[in-house]
């Protein structure tokens, strides 16, 4: 017992020292300002009112000088306000909830796998091992075409899935926000693997009878991080077009991409990717300011495609039998770690408080000049953000990021639970995670959220949102019927 106490008291002392240091550095300007103000006040009091009046009279201002200086002030103020970037608000978003009849329990997935790959028991074994450790639950959903024995991934079925997912999400969004289809000025749809002609954005315009002068974009091939790329594009467009609404639809259509061969590296996506989609309404209109949920603060995009290994780590190609699938390389995690480091290096100075930045700078200088053996300081991002939404790409991704950023289990809870309930829904998973945090009642006004997504290429994109108003729990969201069961404990290996 006596041995433990001194350590405890030491760590408590350390904690207070740390807190004190952070408070000091983060509020240094205020702390410097206070003594200066006090000094001026004392000086003023000492001089007395009569003296001050004399001082004022001694300054000779003539009319021209006053006019010029006031024009200068007005001019500078105008330039400042004009060049300030418009605030982009996230009014609301809607996530697609797949029908219960599309549910795929583990046992059904494995049986179908066996029936389809009956000549390759090793591949079936491999899929089973992946599924056991995947972190998925028994309620994830696959589109109807994949439920058939054998699956029938026709173009018609793919369009059917796209219509089902996108139109449901859009209907939900229009109902939640009260937006009229005619008021949509910008439309961006991102779906990486399915790109028909006419595009999915044209499909939306046709269904909802959107305006003829709408600015529509369809992003394909950009992987799971395309959601944040679309948000970035929407933000840039909203800088150029004042008083506009932008709708972003993020989804991934599973039907055409179900790999039917038996190459192991390509079977992995079959086990993890599931049906899902989200529709988001962004706006720069002043009247949406009060009812918007979030304000977009930063978007940081990092692309490691210049490196060959990173470029090839998620690669769509044909296997030996000519069947097309997405092959994931073995050093995916390492490359993801590198991309994350790159991204953090850019986003760090934008979001971290001065205390963390100072510490990082000192350690950096110290390592360069004094002793390279010093441990590199990992900035504590928990001080910059209240909530983290890590793309639910797989259990390994979440584990890796939790370790790298030193996050607690509660910080990554949204990501893990989304992976469990919905699987890897690609670009829309970030929105399911946001919805989870909101439905748990944890989103308060002023909270900052960090969304991190990884994607083929290899890309690491981040978005930082600031919560505009405390969000109340609702019933029209994909978590409404199961939020009370979460969080669940997800075992390391689920015995099948």
């Amino acid at each position: 017992m006596p041995q433990i106490l001194p350590d405890f008291s030491n760590s408590v002392k350390l904690k207070y020292v740390k807190l004190g240091y952070q408070y000091l550095v983060n509020h240094i300007l205020y702390l410097l300002l206070v003594p200066i103000m006090v000094a001026i006040l004392i000086e003023v009091l000492r001089l007395g009112p009569y003296e001050i009046l004399n001082l004022w009279k001694s300054l000779h201002f003539d009319l021209v000088q006053i006019l010029c200086s006031s024009f200068l002030i007005i001019f500078i103020a105008t330039v400042y306000f004009m060049s300030k970037p418009r605030h982009v608000y996230l009014v609301d978003y809607a996530c697609y909830k797949p029908p219960v009849t599309c549910r795929v329990p583990f046992a059904t997935f494995m049986e179908h796998s066996r029936l389809i790959l009956k000549n390759n028991p090793k591949s079936v074994e491999f899929q089973m091992r992946i599924l056991e450790r995947s972190g998925l639950g028994e309620e994830t959903c696959l589109p109807p075409a994949i439920h058939y024995i054998p699956p029938t991934p026709t173009m018609e079925a793919a369009r059917g899935e796209a219509e089902l997912v996108i139109f449901s999400a859009m209907d939900s969004l229009l109902q939640k926000t009260g937006l009229k289809p005619k008021d949509i000025d910008i439309l961006i749809v991102n779906c990486s693997l399915f790109s028909p002609t006419p595009s999915l954005s044209a499909m939306l315009i046709n269904q909802y009878k959107l305006r003829s002068n709408i600015k529509s974009f369809n992003l394909s091939g950009m992987g799971c991080s395309a959601g944040l790329i679309s948000i970035d594009l929407a933000r840039d467009l909203l800088q150029v077009h004042p008083n506009s609404n932008a709708v972003v639809v993020s989804t991934e259509i599973i039907t055409p991409n179900y790999y039917q061969g038996n190459e192991r590296a390509m079977l992995l996506p079959n086990c993890l990717f599931r049906m899902g989609g989200a529709a988001i309404l962004l706006s720069n209109r002043r009247r949406n300011r009060s009812r918007a949920k979030y304000r977009l603060v930063h978007v940081v995009r990092t692309h490691k495609g210049a490196d060959d290994k990173a470029y090839r780590c998620v690669f769509e190609e044909e296997d030996k039998e000519g069947k097309v699938g997405i092959s994931l390389s073995k050093d995916l995690m390492a490359i993801a770690g590198e991309a994350l480091k790159s991204n953090i290096t850019t986003i760090g100075p934008l979001v971290l408080p001065a205390s963390e930045q100072l510490l990082f700078l000192m350690t950096l200088i110290g390592r360069k000049i004094f002793n390279p053996k010093w441990k590199p300081y990992i900035p504590d991002f928990k001080q910059a953000f209240e909530h983290f939404c890590i793309h639910a790409g797989g259990r390994a991704v979440i584990d890796e990021l939790q370790k790298n950023l030193q996050l607690s289990a509660e910080h990554v809870e949204a990501s893990r639970m989304t992976l469990h309930r919905f699987g890897n829904t690609s670009s829309s998973s970030l929105w399911y995670e946001m919805s989870y945090i909101e439905e748990k009642g944890r989103m308060k006004k002023g909270d900052r959220v960090w969304q991190i997504a990884f994607g083929s290429g290899f890309k690491c994109n981040s978005a930082v949102w600031k919560c505009n108003k405390t969000i109340k729990t609702t019933t029209d969201n994909p978590w409404s019927d199961c939020i009370d069961r979460y969080p669940v404990h997800i075992p390391e290996i689920v015995k099948l």
């Binding site: 219960v100 329990p105 046992a107 059904t108 179908h112 029936l115 028994e138 029938t152």
Partner: protein, 437 residues
């Protein structure tokens, strides 16, 4: 003919409780070699669009499966070598098909082979853990009507349970709730204590089971006989006349006696009757709820007195059936259960493989299965497969429009014998309508 559209797996709407296992009872385990097939014929509904009805039924099937985790589970062997069901949520297989014509046309010229095409079935895989035990086929008739083919392994359900499941499905489609929820419990346990030390177990029933289990005769390994099934409908007054002739109070006993005598004749028995076993549902005798899900059919050999005059052979046959029925009471069945618990067998027997089997399926009430308000099934056919040995007689209920006493009898015999049966004088005396065969 029949165009198969697709095959898929239907799962329940809520995940099953993980790790739950249900052992199979002694009656269940005996039925490993058999499977049941049921066909329901429904008239045309208002919804003309092809595929709409199928979609609705598929969704309601998902909802009802949530209450039947045994149906979506898979077979696995326990440590002691006996079967159990692991409730792993794997689901039931569903096949969707389409055929030309209307239901009424189909029923006019249907036969056993055609009818069996409306029910999909797959024999047990080498690895039973990946083998679906329940199959559903929905066949839409292009000019109106629907056929629902339902098949399942006899290990998990008997015709009573199977009918109950389909009724629960219909109730869920119609009203969203089941009127009679299922009852998953083991058979009543053997009585402990206060056992009469001089109590002699009912040897006849046990002996019948013993001989069936020990029977390794080649009769059921050799299946080149071409069996054909005929459906004979006996109207209410005719059944009543038969009951009067045989002076039996129960329609089943009268019908069983009648069929026994006629089948013996066509088999070429000049004197006496061929060996027959009856198969009855013992839920009431065991004090089990009607919703008991599992096997509760017991087989008993019928003993008859030999060498009688031709005229009263019918009454004697019916009397013998009646005696057999009475002998199957609670005490004797409990003795049988106890005997079965203590007697392991290496190879599962074929309970319907030797004698002529006459099963009483009168109380199943399949015509109460309504998927849509007012659309009563036109016909419901039952098959207990595979048929070996002498043959099989199933005594079923008739559609309610025919009256409460009318009966439908499905007789499965080798082809030549069946045609002789349909021309037999004694049968024709009761004027049956030949619906199929």
């Amino acid at each position: 003919m029949i165009t198969y559209i697709c095959k898929r797996t239907v799962v329940s709407t809520k995940p099953a409780q993980a790790g739950k296992c249900n052992p199979l009872s002694v009656f269940d385990r005996l039925m490993e070699k058999n499977h049941i097939r049921i066909v329901y014929y429904f008239p045309s509904t208002r919804n003309g669009e092809p595929g709409v009805v199928t979609k609705k039924l598929r969704e309601s099937l998902s909802h009802v499966l949530t209450c039947f985790p045994i149906v979506t589970g898979r077979l696995q062997k326990k440590d002691d070598g006996h079967w159990m069901i692991k409730c792993n949520d794997a689901g039931v297989r569903m096949v969707e098909a389409r055929t030309q014509g209307s239901v009424e046309e189909w029923l006019k010229n249907v036969n056993r082979d055609k009818e069996l095409m409306l029910v999909t079935w797959e024999d047990m895989f080498h690895k039973p853990y990946f083998w679906a035990t329940f199959y559903v086929q929905l066949t839409e008739f292009e000019e109106g009507g629907l056929a629902i083919g339902f098949s399942c392994s006899h290990l998990l359900a008997d015709p009573t349970s199977a009918t109950m499941f389909v009724k629960a499905w219909a109730d869920t489609t119609l009203a969203g709730t089941m009127l009679a929820p299922p009852f998953f419990h083991p058979l009543p346990p053997p009585r402990l204590g206060n056992k009469n030390p001089n109590h002699n177990p009912y040897t006849d029933l046990i002996n019948h089971y013993k001989s069936t289990i020990d029977d390794r005769s080649p009769a059921f390994t050799n299946n080149i006989t071409n069996y054909v099934t005929a459906t004979l409908a006996f109207s209410g007054p005719m059944v009543q006349a038969c009951m009067l002739d045989t002076s039996r109070p129960s329609p089943f006993e009268a019908m069983a006696g009648l069929l026994w005598v006629c089948v013996s004749k066509v088999k070429g028995m000049k004197q006496g009757l061929i060996s027959m076993s009856i198969c009855l549902d013992m839920r009431k005798q065991l004090g089990l709820d009607k919703g008991f899900f599992g096997n509760c059919l017991v087989y008993n050999k019928v003993h008859h007195a030999e060498s009688l005059l031709d005229k009263s052979e019918l009454s004697e046959a019916a009397r013998a059936v009646g005696e057999s029925v009475t002998k199957m009471n609670n005490e004797r069945i409990m003795d049988l259960i106890e005997w079965l618990e203590h007697h392991d067998y290496e190879f599962p027997p074929l309970m319907n493989g030797h004698d002529l089997i006459c099963a009483n399926l009168e109380d199943l009430d399949p015509y109460a299965t309504l998927f849509e308000e007012g659309f009563v099934p036109i016909r419901v056919s039952y098959y207990v497969e595979p048929v070996f040995g002498i043959g099989q007689i199933l005594v079923l209920q008739s559609p309610p429009s025919e009256g409460p006493l009318s009966r439908m009898v499905m007789v499965t015999l080798p082809a030549d014998e069946l045609s002789k049966l349909c021309d037999d004088d004694l049968i024709l005396r009761f004027n049956p309508t030949i619906l199929m065969g």
